[in-house]
């Protein structure tokens, strides 16, 4: 898929490599880079996923990074059914009625 100028895209960049991480960081975190994601309108004429691109963020800041998503969207939702929760409503309602 190819993005064209003006498309809303998500970009990625590495802020600190593992070697550059702060001294106070726990060991497991020190093994991995500090990474960043941001979104903006593509300024390049066209680009494909993985290209280095320039964008203008929603508030108008200029940024560079690797193109990772075109027309990015949120995937978070209300989760799957959690059967472990189902007793709670019935339990509190039953307890409230008891002895009244």
């Amino acid at each position: 898929m190819e993005a064209k100028k003006g498309d809303w895209v998500r970009i990625y960049k590495m802020v600190l490599s593992p070697e550059e991480r702060a001294a106070q960081v726990p060991d497991d975190t020190k093994k991995v880079p500090l990474e960043l994601w941001d979104k903006g309108f593509l300024l390049d004429e066209k680009a494909k996923i993985g290209d280095r691109v320039k964008v203008e963020t929603y508030i108008g800041r200029l940024m560079e990074g690797e193109l990772v998503e075109i027309d990015p969207y949120y995937e978070h939702d209300y989760g799957r059914c959690v059967p472990e929760l189902l007793y709670i409503g019935r339990q509190v309602k039953r307890l409230l009625k008891e002895g009244n």
Binding site: Q24, V25, P33, H76, E84, L85
Partner: protein, 465 residues
């Protein structure tokens, strides 16, 4: 001149960047030793209560309902000794424009930034504060950037944080999302330097004093409804601002006798900066990972002197477990018809237990709720916990091990707020003050300051020193 942008170089410019971005010269209030003039800092850099109420009212913030939870109270009394079981009231802060009490803090910071002529505002937050700043920035016509710690190194993000990113973007803010690590602050400083925007720190006097209206409103609403102040107010505690601001607001309404209780979710054993443990927790704020370090050393914050000083006001500090908060969230929905976000129900879970110790004619106020939605809801949060190897069980919440299990109480009688030892926290704060400031011989005024800052006495402080 081109500035050096390496981690060390940017961090070395921290104080000049912070000074330019919050507009406060903290040295004006310093004694040069441990003590600093907290009250003068709050009054000279902040706004009066009346001004803050006006600023908030103009921006649609505040005047939230205070709801008596009659069914929850009835359930509390099923587990109480005869004559016990305080009435529980809930301040429905989810009714604020951005869905939490954080709108109060943001309203003042954004107003102040606008007044000082800043073009935009930045906040480093993965929590509700981001949405609050973004929302208030809209009202005042400022640009807004929110910097979030959001993902682990696999690119997996907590659903609650991702939902908050969505909400910030809904208000037209730019959201910068980072992986785990305290160097977020480094990137934050670079953004402040690049944009010259105002830093909406959670720890400036504006950020804290904005919550005073919450405490004041509780007092006013209780006086109007019951003709008296509540016996206790319970606040979820993380960075300390919520508790500090609420307590200060109550004091401004002659609420000296109101007991101030802090509550945090117990996340003992989980390291907040650990990449592997980041997604093992189901609460991103209101937990002991912030609550305890910020209580025992508030000046660890991004400004030289935090305006949030919880030990100055706290009478009691309790923890509850994750499973207890999830259970209480479901209870609130199913008994009171109020579906609210889990993190905001931390203090309600504690209240369910504490009300059982209090007399029937006493009143306990839970001072916040937060909005709920996709990602920010018990179901997605428990789904995410399971996906990250955390077992969700029904049983005795006392056996919960943060990062390994979430135990929903098999019976509400098992919900139990666990007291932290206040004197240990106070001692730890005093020791941190001595070691971090490297003051070996504290002066009289240092000792008096420490006594005030820990709500103790000069004798108590001397004993520890």
């Amino acid at each position: 001149m081109i500035k050096e942008m390496s981690y060390e170089n940017v961090m070395a410019r921290k104080s000049e960047i912070m000074k330019a971005s919050v507009g406060i010269n903290y040295s004006d209030f310093e004694s040069g030793s441990i003590a600093f003039d907290y009250e003068r800092m709050m009054s000279e850099t902040g706004y009066s209560l009346e001004e803050m109420r006006q600023i908030q009212m103009d921006a649609g913030v505040g005047n939230t309902p205070l709801i008596e939870l009659k069914n929850v109270t009835s359930l509390v009394r099923k587990f109480s000794e005869p004559g016990k079981g305080a009435r529980i009231f809930l301040k429905d802060e989810a009714s604020n424009p951005s869905g939490s009490f954080k709108a109060r803090r943001a309203a003042i910071s954004v107003y102040h930034a606008k007044k000082l002529g800043y073009e935009g505002i930045i906040a480093a937050t993965s929590g509700n504060y981001g949405a609050a700043v973004a929302s208030q920035a809209c009202i005042r016509g400022l640009n807004c950037i929110i910097v979030q710690e959001c993902y682990d190194s696999r690119g997996k993000g907590q659903p609650e944080i991702i939902e908050k990113a969505r909400k910030c973007e809904a208000y037209g803010a730019e959201v910068v999302q980072l992986t785990v690590g305290p160097e977020l602050f480094y990137h934050f400083l670079m953004l402040l330097e690049e944009t010259k925007y105002f830093n909406a720190s959670l720890y400036t006097p504006f950020g804290i004093a904005g919550v005073e209206t919450l405490g004041y409103e509780i007092a006013e609403q209780m006086m109007e409804r019951e003709g008296r102040l509540p016996d206790a107010v319970i606040a979820t505690n993380a960075g300390g601002g919520n508790l500090t601001g609420t307590a200060r607001g109550l004091l401004k309404h002659k609420g000296e006798q109101v007991k101030i209780i802090g509550a945090s979710v117990n996340l003992k054993g989980l390291h907040m900066a650990s990449d592997e443990q980041f997604n093992k927790k189901s609460f991103t704020t209101g937990h002991t990972g912030f609550g305890i370090p910020f209580s025992t050393w508030p000046d660890r914050s991004d400004v030289p002197r935090s305006a949030g000083r919880p030990l100055r006001y706290m009478d009691r500090y309790v923890t509850v477990n994750q499973g207890e908060v999830f259970y209480t969230t479901e209870m609130l929905a199913q008994l009171e018809g109020l579906e609210r976000g889990p993190a905001g129900n931390t203090s309600l879970a504690a209240a369910f237990s504490i009300a059982q110790e209090m007399d029937k004619d006493q009143i306990l106020v839970v001072q916040e709720t937060e909005y709920t939605g996709a990602g920010k809801h018990i179901q997605p949060q428990l789904t995410f916990a399971k996906d990250n190897g955390v077992k969700v069980l029904v049983g005795n919440p006392r056996e919960e091990i943060p990062g390994e299990t979430i135990i929903l109480p098999e019976h509400p009688g098992l919900i139990q707020a666990k007291d932290l030892n206040m004197d240990n926290l106070r001692t730890s704060y005093i020791r941190n003050c001595l070691s971090n400031t490297q003051v070996n011989n504290p002066s009289e005024s240092d000792i008096e300051f420490l006594a005030k800052d820990t709500k103790t006495s000069v004798a108590f402080v001397r004993e520890i020193i």
